[in-house]
Structure formats: C-alpha cells, structure tokens
Subunit: 359 residues, 2 copies
C-alpha cells in the first residue's frame, strides 16, 4: 500500500527528500510543514510537497514522519507529535548525531517506530533553494532503529529511501556517532584550527590557494549548528581529537629529529588510504576522456561549443569552467565518451581556432 | 627590448607559464627543456614553447631562465648553468620553499640576477596535460630577490609575469617560508593526519561525504615531493605545528569541561576569517544569478539546453553538473547574467518539461 509521508522542515535535506520521493511508486502523498511561509510556498511551487499540513494534522495522517529541522527543535516537535501519531507510524530524522536523538525518540508512545536517520550528503547552499533531486545519489544513508522496531519496518523505510539513490546502512546509534566523529566532527575542528592558525593576518590569507580553500571550506559553516553537534557527540569527538593530537605530535618530533622515514611512511599511508575514497563522478553517462580548451570571453560561447561538438555527434558528458579572465577568456574542461572522441573534438575545435588539447 | 625565455621543466607550472607568456608582447622566443621527450613533443604541439634547447644552449641564449623542475634537481642544473649564463641574466624558479633555493642560487656567478619565485596555484592534474593558460589568473606570485639584485630587474620579472594574470608580491625568502608553513605545509600535514585517523577502516571510509573529501584532498599528493618540502621548511613547519597542537588541545579541554563558550568563540573566529577569503569566481563574465535544472540522462542534453536558452538570448556564463544518476538523469547548475534572466530561463525550461528553479 502506498504511504503518506510528512516532512517537517523543508530546508536543503527535507526539500531534497521531498523532491526525490514524490516520484516514488511507494509514495501516495507528501505533506510538509515549515515555520517559514515563503519556504512552504516555494516547496509547493517546485513540487517538493503535495500539501501543507500543521504538525498535528500531518502527524495524524502520515505513515512516515521525517524530522528535518535542527535537532534543538526535536523535543518540542516530538512533544506535539506524541499525542496525535497513530500506532505503527514510523518516525525518522536527518540529524547529524544519533545517540541523543534516539534519547528524544524514547518519549514517543509504544508501537510508534523510531528509526534514526542520517544521510551523508549536503551542499553549501542551505535552505530550499539548495535542493537537488539527486542530492543523495550514491551517498550513504545511515539508519539507527530503536531496539523495539520490527525488522520489516526498518526494511520498509530503507526501501522507501533507496529511491533517492542513497545506499542504506543500518547500525547502532553509538557506532554511527563514533564514525562521524572521525569522518566529520574532528575534521571540522581541524579546519577551524587551521584557519585560526592564520590569525586572520592579511599576508597569510593572501597566500591561500586552492589547497587551503578546499581544506578549510567547512570552517565557514554555522558556529551555532556545529557547537550543538560537537557537544552532542563530545565523548567520541574528545577521543578522536586526542588521537589526532598524538599523531601531529609524532610528526613534529620526527621533523625535529630529522626522522624522514617516519614522515615519509605516514604521508604514504595517508595517500594510500585517501586514494581508496572513490572520486565523485559527476558527468552524465560514464566518463572516459577529457579535453581542455581556451575560449574567448564572449556571450554564447558555451552554447556554441555544445553546438559545434553536437553537430559532429560528440556528446558532452561533463563540463566545467576552470578559470576565467574577465574581458579576455577562459579555460573549459570537457568530458566526452572516449579518447577517440576527445581527439576528434580537439581537432574540430582547433579548426574553429579554439586552442585545445586532450588532458 | 623583447626577451628570450628559457623554461627548464615543462610540467604543470612550467607548461602553463609557457602557454601564458608566449602571447606576451614582452616575449621574443620561449625555449624549453624537459628530460621527458614526449613532454617536449606535446609542448611544441600545443604551443607552450617555440624551440627545444639543451640546458647549455638555452642557458646561453636566454634573458630569463625559469627552473620548473622539482627542487632536488636545482643544484645539478645550477651547476651546469653557472658556466654558460651571461651577465645580467635573470634566474628564477617556481619551488615551494625559498630559503633553501636562494642558498642554491648563491652559487651562481656575480652579475647573474637570482630572484626566487613561487606562484600560489596548482592543479591535481600534474604534468603537461594539466596545463592551463589561466592557471595563474588572480593567484599570488611571490618573488624573493637575492640582496644584490637591482630593483629594475625585479620589476622587469614582475612585469613579465603580470601577463599571466598573477598578482606579484615581493618579500624576503624567510617571510615566504613562514607564510607557506601556515597556509600550505601544516594544512597538508593536518589533512594526512585526518586521513590516518580513519585507520583505513571501511566503515569510516564509506561514511566520507563531500566535506571529508575536500578537507583531505591534498593528502593524495606525492609523498616524495612533500617529504622534501616539509624538511626543507622544517623550522617554520615545526613552529606552526606546535601552535596547531596547542589549539586543538584547548578545544579538547573545552569539550571535556563543558566550556561551550570557548568552542563557540573559536568556531565564530574561524568562520569570520574563512569568509574573508574571496570565492573563486569561475564563470565567463561576472555572474549574478543561478538556476538549477533536472534533466534526463540523454546524449546532447547540454548542447540542447545551451541552444534553448541561446535562442531566447539568455547567455550561459557558468555551468556545472551537480549530480547524476546513470540511465536516469542529473541536476545541472547554470549561471546567467541576472535574476530576470534566471527567472526567464526557468520558465522557458519548464515549458520544455525540464524541472527547474532559481537557486
């Protein structure tokens, strides 16, 4: 039987869930709630939800409820929901830590199925304008069911969420919190620390190139949000932070003692592990080969390149503007199906006086 | 008078310098050398250099010599050059540390002008295939002249390099090395440390989302190269690493002692400083507004969108494929000139049954 969903909080995650799940054959209607009325209007307009409902109304009529607000709102919302939810309703969330959330969920009536959730996906554009139907594609989506939840209910939620393209992993809330301490929370603190190491000095900041930008990007996130996350997970964050400090101290000692072996070994280990993390493939269709071209800064140039290559039956599967000089030109990376097409594209573009080469 | 340049080492940096400087009105010919014959062939073909020359020949006939090999080759190359360079020749390099390089340069004959150089730009694609005419656009390019170099020689090199789009900053080699310890070398070690904190465990790595990927990207660089850089700058790296450790320890203590004030203050400080680093603007023409659209995974779709919008006189100034599901579809971010065009683009695309919204 098709399910009615109720999404509370229509920001980046809640909105993207709605956008993706509305096309699922398992879904009947999606109800939505947000305290911001403009967000609700946008959600209805884009087609993220079918109907606006108050928390009471939505909670009463939903088969699955998604809490997609900041975690600090959960106690209030759960307090309102506990009086209206039907037996057999699934309640889940998308918060960044899970032990604390499962604690909140324990205030729900018996026979309501609490399954914590955390999709490992995001975007720097917060709110409904950042939504993306494919936000969860290939992302891990962790579920942490309460001990009393029947397996078929966990499977049902997992099946529903699979439609977003996410890979569902079920685990205990405590393991989740330990893993995110290592992979998200401590890296966040390290990024903040690296930024603060510059002391905001102009001469330091002016030197910041792509590497520093990437490494510290997450330090621009909301301090309020992150303070909450870090304290809500402070046991594991403290443990992993301690390990990080010990590791850095070991390297410092190795540098002082001219112990290049240790430094080299650790750098190699890091490279070996890091190279295992799969690249994010972004192109349409599997991507095989790339070329770079240098184009003038002229209106319509991107459309024109698409047209030139399309005419010769070369399909652009990925495209990225690398760098630009205003009023002069820029470099564009183009992904095509294979090496042969890349070479053909290069010679076609060259014949149009566009400097290009296979990358 | 136009200058002859000699670029030794035609990798990412040397190749990009050649590509950019060949069109400068201040340049006569660019000679090039690389130990890899295929690299030389590619360089000639793309138009990075005018002529291949041996180190002797090039050194004899150049007005400005660029060392663009790994630093470990510098002593050998300088030893060969010292017997052939003419008085008044400028020798510069693109190495990552400067005190050690200036030491090597001190072996050159008097009257040869040694000016250390370091462009703060790079790419994950190494070698000549990663080159980009605009690689240095808006990047800081540090020059560290030896004490005996006349100011007009420094200005001459600066003027020459300005043509790449780089912003030239002259400073003592020691200050450069201190700054890069903070902005590049310690961040590199931190990225390696964060990766090693995962211990390569599958459950940790599977959770890695965009944030971890970005923060640790540089940990995939060459361990050989980085071991050299770190030891060549170990005095400053040690100092800054010590500060980083102290900072992380302070946060750990604050977490333990429930001192949320300290954590919050440091997160705010990091955000404030990080937000000062200007975004990399990548679109052609100044970019004002963005839309997102959801498209089917069909050959030629990018060209088609360019065509649809072009027909209505809407100019794509930036484009990025956000995410993709193979055989299904993907989301594309499109930058246009202004809000009005973004709204117009959305309604045009919607009328073609392409779901889209202003971001």
């Amino acid at each position: 039987m098709k399910k009615n969903l109720f999404i509370i909080g229509l920001g980046l995650i809640g909105g993207s869930l709605g956008l993706a799940l509305r096309e699922s054959p398992l879904v009947n209607k999606i109800f939505g709630f947000d305290i911001d009325i403009k967000t609700v209007e946008t959600a209805l307009q884009i087609g993220v939800i079918d109907e606006f409902k108050s928390i009471d109304e939505g909670g009463k009529n939903a088969d699955v409820i998604f809490l997609c607000t900041p975690i600090s709102f959960f106690p209030l919302i759960i307090n309102e929901l506990r009086n209206v939810v039907r037996q057999g309703t699934i309640i889940t969330d998308v918060g960044s830590t899970k032990e604390e959330v499962m604690q909140f969920f324990s205030n729900l009536p018996q026979g309501v199925w609490a399954i914590g959730g955390h999709p490992m996906a995001g975007s720097e554009i917060k709110g409904i304008n950042g939504i993306d139907r494919y936000l969860f594609e290939n992302a891990v989506y962790v579920l942490t069911p309460a001990p009393d939840v029947p397996e078929e209910q966990v499977n049902l939620l997992g099946e529903l969420l699979s439609f977003t393209g996410a890979k569902i992993k079920t685990m205990p809330a405590s393991l989740h919190d330990e893993l995110v301490a290592t992979i998200s929370h401590v890296p966040h603190l390290a990024a903040a620390a690296l930024v603060n190491l510059t002391e905001g000095r102009d001469d330091n900041l002016m030197m910041a190139a792509g590497g520093f930008r990437d490494t510290t990007r997450i330090a621009s996130s909301s301090p309020e949000l992150w303070q909450d996350i870090l304290f809500s997970n402070r046991k594991y964050v403290g443990q992993k932070l301690d390990k990080l400090i010990k590791f850095l101290f070991k390297i410092k000692k190795a540098l002082e003692e001219d112990d290049s072996e240790t430094v080299y070994t650790e750098l190699c280990r890091a490279k070996e592990i890091r190279d295992q993390i799969p690249h994010k493939r972004k192109g349409l269709l599997p991507e095989f080969s790339e070329l770079v071209c240098i184009v003038p800064d002229k209106p319509g140039i991107i459309g024109k390149i698409g047209e030139i290559l399309g005419k010769e039956n070369i399909n652009i599967v990925d495209i990225e503007i690398l760098r630009v000089r205003e009023g002069d030109g820029g470099s564009i990376r183009i992904g095509v199906r294979n090496r042969e097409e890349a070479e053909r594209a290069v010679s076609i573009l060259q014949s149009c006086n566009i400097k290009s080469w296979v990358r």
